[in-house]
């Protein structure tokens, strides 16, 4: 007979939940869900020993436990602090936490290039979401930002260190998933960088996962660079019989073309299964895959625009809790003109005309994938003169 486990009662922002001992505050908050979940940039539940670095998930522990109800003196990283029985945690109900989080966002952005208009990660970037939700509109940083040269780590991955926020996720991925690590963090302080020491390619057959775990556009897929914006592509779940991995992937389609293959990400932006390089970079024909169906996209995500209609909105927890409307969260359907056009109807890229009265007009994108021409398998980059 299974022994009954003692559950810990933890209260996060006045919502009480019972969780198993050994759960972190962040995981408990994710079980509750909604607006009280602290944002994370470096924590990745699928990897061991991640978290604690970015400091965006900091919360106030107002009472340590029933046995020792003293508050913790400092804000704690919720991803690396385990719950105790009777713990009371304040996240969005504590102004000091929000203030500290604002400070962290500002710190993360001072050396970030903010080149979202030309960044492939835009639209699915954790840092973008974080700065919209918690950042300030301007920066007080008046100095030259730290910059690095772009480095091609082999045929598939490009490293753009300037955008990196040093979350260490890719280092942990290489250690724990890829089996071998050929890159790491060099130097220290604000001149620390992800590098291979001597410019090498990353060759492990699972190394492509570092692209998925990267919260910003520092590690990008060279077979997808500058092909399309993520919000013009349509995510579809698919699978294939793969000898190395489970083969459960997400295809990013434009018309009938597979532009990109990634792992399936859950609602916290974490991949469900690691996929191999073969699936990710080489299988870019629809015939390679068995399509399961469309992906459920968070309605706040810019990716959801125009693709799906008639969604039932989930309930809000923010307003009943805080007695005010959320400040920066917005529903993309309410404010954007884009969603009034069904982009599925046109096979090419949308232009200004598409949204101004002519929903079937489309532009002619020279890098758009057409049969026989334009498929850029070498990952060369027309905007970068250094690559052929």
């Amino acid at each position: 007979m299974a022994e009954e486990k003692k559950l810990f009662k933890v209260t996060i922002d006045n919502i009480t939940i019972e969780v198993e001992p050994g759960t972190s505050i962040l995981q408990a908050a994710r079980m509750i869900g909604g607006d009280i979940v602290p944002p994370t940039m470096c924590y990745y539940s699928k990897l061991k020993n991640t978290g604690g670095y970015c400091r965006t998930c900091m919360v106030k522990v107002a009472a340590g436990s029933t046995a020792d109800p003293r508050p913790m003196p400092k804000l704690v990283a919720s991803c690396r602090t385990n719950v105790m029985d009777g713990m009371i945690v304040e996240n969005i109900t504590n102004p000091a936490v929000l203030e500290a989080r604002k400070g962290v966002v500002e710190f993360l952005l001072i050396n970030h290039p903010l080149d979202c208009p030309v960044c492939d990660q835009a639209g699915e970037c954790d840092l973008q979401d974080l700065s919209y939700a918690h950042g300030t509109e301007g920066s007080r940083f008046e100095f030259r930002k730290r910059t690095f040269e772009r480095i091609d780590l082999g045929p598939y991955i490009q490293l753009h260190m300037t955008r990196c926020i040093l979350c260490y996720r890719c280092v942990h991925t290489a250690n724990q998933v890829a089996g071998q690590r050929e890159h790491g963090v060099l130097d220290r302080g604000d001149h620390a960088q992800i590098a291979t020491y001597i410019r090498e390619s990353l060759d492990s057959e699972f190394i492509g996962n570092v692209i998925d775990v990267c919260p910003v556009g520092a590690l990008t897929d060279r077979t997808f660079r500058f092909k399309n914006r993520v919000w013009f592509t349509k995510p579809v779940e698919a699978h294939r019989d793969c000898p190395t991995c489970k083969g459960k992937v997400r295809l990013w389609m434009r018309g009938d073309d597979v532009l990109r293959v990634t792992g399936r990400k859950d609602q916290w932006g974490e991949v469900e299964d690691w996929i191999c390089n073969d699936c990710r970079f080489e299988k870019k024909k629809v015939s390679d895959w068995v399509i399961e169906g469309p992906t459920t996209v968070n309605r706040h995500s810019v990716i959801s625009q125009g693709h799906y209609t008639g969604i039932k909105k989930p309930g809000e927890t923010f307003e009943p809790l805080m007695h005010r409307k959320p400040k920066l969260l917005m529903d993309i359907h309410a404010v954007s003109n884009v969603n009034k056009v069904d982009l599925n109807n046109i096979p090419g890229p949308a232009t200004g005309k598409t949204f101004n009265g002519d929903p079937l007009s489309m532009g002619n994108n020279p890098t758009d994938v057409k049969e026989g021409v334009g498929r850029n398998m070498a990952g060369t980059d027309s905007t970068n003169p250094d690559t052929p």
Binding site: G51, G52, Y53, C54, R55, M58, P73, K74, L75, A77, R80, E99, A100, G103, V104, E106, F107, L108, I110, N111, R140, F141, F143, I165, L166, Y168, G184, V185, D187, R188, G189, D190, H191, A192
Partner: protein
């Protein structure tokens, strides 16, 4: 004349060698300790009230008693000799001139804690001291105080010296353990604390060089006798490395009964400020602790004399007090510029931040850039408030204390010397030519000590 326990034999010719050290009563503590039970030694250290000399001042006996003792798992003692704080050089003196004192303390502590493999993690820049320590360890091995079956008790112990590669962050105990394991010196996230999961995931105690050396006199004179020296909870003697604008910079052993005023002005210690200048400010415990202006340094806000003790230096909190820290006593006379001084410290912390957590990584660089602007005549008034805001967002929000250590000097400089920052902003050209006499320093008019 204060009582000397650590440096009482420092003047003896050839004390660095085993024979001379042994002839002068060396290794008596080991012989005494090996007749006691390990738990009794820990009890003795608890009774002595010894507090960690590395900076935080945590009671050593308590730290030792927290050490987890699971069956069949090795325990480690690690000596933190990664002394990199600007202004602190006491451990260097101890290791360079009386290395056997540290080795003796290490043997006793290893026995008390049950550590069969003990490590000295030494700062990489102290390259020549490694040779001195290695020689001392070899001599102790020869004499039978190290190795297998020491003094016939069946206790094995070996000491290894590991050089760091020149990183201030590796003085933080968990970063030190990471570095000792051969990894990148990034601080670990606590809990678990090293006493439960330290070196190679085994229970570990990390202590400063001076703390471990102080174990020897505690064993020799007894914990209760040791606790009688000093005031209140500041027991025993403390090494202070004094530097800056004083007549006699150097290492002084104080018994924590003297006042700050006596320490600066008496001929026995620092010998006053040279060239007839006045005292402007002082950092009493190494570069990380808040700077204090002269009026708050010599007297607390309550009007009491400030003493060289843990409690008295911390009196008034960070608003009007400072910290004992690691004992790096830096004195600034009226010719020194606090803005320039703060900029130098900010540059140091920017260079030494490990880059693991974002507030410290990005914030230290930002603070240095702003301070650089103010110092070189490009500052704005709003920069001072911005600096204050940045430091408040770094402090307490980082994994390890380096973030706090980077924020405190900037906070204290603005708190006490804001007028000097403002003067720099308003008079950019003059500020670069002339950098002194701005903040209202308060030199005591009547100095009571000769």
């Amino acid at each position: 004349m204060g009582r000397k326990l650590l440096l009482d034999k420092a003047h003896i010719e050839g004390i660095r060698n085993y024979d001379v050290y042994r002839r002068n009563g060396g290794y008596a503590a080991v012989e005494k300790a090996f007749k006691m039970a390990p738990a009794d030694i820990v009890e003795e250290v608890k009774k002595s009230g010894l507090r960690g000399r590395g900076g935080a001042g945590f009671p050593t006996g308590m730290k030792w008693s927290f050490l987890a003792k699971p069956e069949g798992v090795a325990r480690y003692l690690v000596c933190n000799a990664d002394e990199s704080e600007p202004g602190t050089f006491k451990d260097r003196y101890l290791m360079e001139f009386i290395p056997h004192l540290l080795i003796e303390g290490l043997i006793v502590s290893s026995f008390a804690l049950g550590s069969n493999r003990t490590y000295i993690y030494i700062r990489g820049e102290y390259a020549w001291i490694v040779d001195i320590l290695e020689q001392a360890i070899a001599e102790a091995n020869q004499a039978g105080f190290l190795g297998k079956n020491i003094l016939g008790t069946g206790f094995d112990c070996q000491i290894y010296v590991q050089r760091g590669a020149g990183a201030y962050i590796c003085g933080e105990e968990t970063a030190l353990l990471e570095s000792l394991e051969g990894k990148r010196g990034n601080p670990r996230i606590k809990p678990p604390f090293p006493a439960v999961k330290g070196l190679y995931d085994c229970p570990t105690v990390v202590n400063n060089v001076e703390t471990l050396a102080a174990i020897v006199p505690i064993l020799n004179i007894g914990g209760e006798e040791y606790a009688k020296i000093g005031v209140g909870r500041s027991t025993g003697t403390k090494l202070i490395s004094a530097c800056g604008n004083i007549n006699k910079p150097g290492i002084y052993e104080i018994d924590m009964t003297i006042s700050v005023e006596e320490f600066i002005y008496s001929d026995e210690y620092c010998g006053g400020i040279p060239n007839g200048k006045k005292l402007k400010a002082c950092i009493p415990g190494g570069s990380s602790v808040p700077i204090l202006p002269a009026n708050l340094l010599l007297k607390t806000v309550k009007g009491e004399k400030r003493m060289m003790t843990y409690e008295s230096l911390a009196d008034g909190g960070f608003a009007t007090g400072s910290m004992m820290g690691s004992g790096g006593f830096i004195v600034l006379d009226e010719d020194q510029c606090v803005v320039r001084h703060t900029m130098t410290l900010a540059r140091f912390y920017r260079h030494e931040s490990c880059g693991q957590c974002s507030p410290c990584r990005e914030g230290t660089g930002w603070m240095e850039k702003i301070l650089h602007n103010i110092e070189y005549g490009k500052g704005k008034m709003s920069d001072i408030d911005l600096l204050w805001d940045i430091q408040s967002k770094i402090e307490g929000n980082t994994i390890c204390p380096l973030g706090d250590a980077a924020a405190w000097p900037v906070a204290a400089a603005i708190r006490h010397f804001r007028d000097e920052f403002e003067w720099h902003v308003l008079n950019p050209e003059e500020a670069q030519k002339r950098n002194f006499g701005l903040a209202h320093y308060a030199d005591p008019l009547e100095v009571s000590v000769a």
